[in-house]
Homo-oligomer: 258 residues x 2
């Protein structure tokens, strides 16, 4: 971080540039530094680390109340980060913040999240990156979440993060007075049950909607989803290294031959 | 695994049901057990853990030489696993194998890979799962890759894998006689450089294609991409837990307050 100039902060999300959460997040970041918003033109929830390989991407300016707010990219959250860094920003930003997402990015959902993927893409590019989610899809109040995002971003700009590591922050959708506290958590284990439901069209042919309920496989305050359900702000450090390091020793004993 | 009945093996991929690799993989698995193929109707490379939330999914039967080969799903690799487990298979399979993918799923590309994501989705559902890739996009010869996939699958059916852990296998596109050996590896560090290229349409408006070159950030035989470039088969155990466990202690020292 340049200590003389204000930090430059890239703001992205996966709900698309019209999502309420990115406006709350951009406003909060403007109190810390210079902000550029680059977000998907359309909502891209559940897109994970998907990128667009088969078609070209377009960049457009997006106005809010007749004033320039940011850029849209006709692709996924990861596309946004790639195009922002290669063609929109004049130099690497000091920080990337992604969100504020509707719905928690915890437990198994961490893998499906475009919000988290945008931040991980930033970390791959060597940029300090954070992801923020509010744990609701309805009646969202981003007031406290935006305030906490600003506070954490300021701290992270000072302290930095280890290489290839982001912070994924999940914030309960309650007033500040009802927040139980801040906890550092691990990604919980969970599984979607009854993953898809069957319906029938006019010709009685079946079709399927992904659906289901999230079943928690561990219930402990050290796990993200459980903590956030107790009204804690859950901060989970995530890595872009998926290696199951703990299994390497045993696997070497298999003595596989060609 | 049921020791009396033959194991039931679900075969998926991200290149789509017409991809040559899934036919080689299905043929190899048929020598081990009963096989069901469920694959995307269209290619879905680079789709990572994306799933389809905004539209319904269709299942169709796919014929090869006028014989039933498997089912297509009108979605992503992860959609295929979800729909296969909830609506196509009568019970949980003993093994899921994904691939054989065109192009290596190593280093940073591990995160973008739909092939790997399908296997990880399987592991989340508690099913032993493997991902296979051949390190080429052209002149692919799946002979040795399919043979090795069968050998490893047999071993894994006997030994099992730890919970939430898959094996991602990258196989050089060379004849068996030129394979250097088998190594157990970690996900290497890498970064795509010059991520997007700019072109102009008939109206001189710019558009962008994701592109670039993969820059390796570590060069060591213990890393997947480096190993496979030396003609080793690289087997990397991957976890669906993204937590950066090593940073939790330091992060707790930040003493964040609401």
């Amino acid at each position: 971080m340049n200590t003389v100039q204000k930090p430059h902060i890239l703001v992205c999300n996966d709900d698309g540039i019209e999502g309420e959460g990115i406006h709350a997040l951009a406003a909060a970041m403007k109190k810390l530094g210079r902000v550029t918003v680059v977000a998907p033109a359309e909502p891209h929830s559940g897109m994970s680390h998907a990128m667009t390989l088969g078609e070209p991407l377009r960049i457009k300016k997006f106005l809010k109340n007749n004033h320039f707010f940011g850029y849209t990219v006709s692709g996924t959250p990861v596309d946004c980060i790639k195009v922002a860094l290669s063609h929109i920003l004049p130099s690497k930003p000091d920080l990337i913040v992604s969100g504020i997402n509707y719905g928690s990015n915890t437990a198994t959902n961490t893998l499906y999240s475009g919000t988290v993927a945008a931040a991980i893409e930033g970390s791959i590019q060597g940029i300090t990156s954070l992801a923020f989610s509010l744990t609701t899809y309805e009646h969202a109040d981003f007031t406290y979440a935006a305030k906490f995002a600003r506070k954490l971003a300021r701290k992270v700009l000072l302290e930095g993060l280890p290489a290839d590591t982001i912070l994924s922050v999940n914030i309960p959708n309650v007033p500040e007075s009802e927040i139980s506290g801040i906890v550092i958590t691990e990604q919980g284990r969970s599984r979607w049950e009854e993953d898809a439901i069957e319906r029938h069209d006019m010709f009685n042919n079946p079709y399927y909607w992904l659906s289901g309920t999230l079943k928690l496989l561990d219930e402990d305050i050290s796990k993200d989803e459980f903590a956030v359900r107790q009204n804690y702000v859950a901060i989970t450090p995530l890595s872009c290294d998926l290696t199951a390091h703990g299994f390497i020793g045993a696997l070497k004993q298999w003595n596989l031959q060609t």
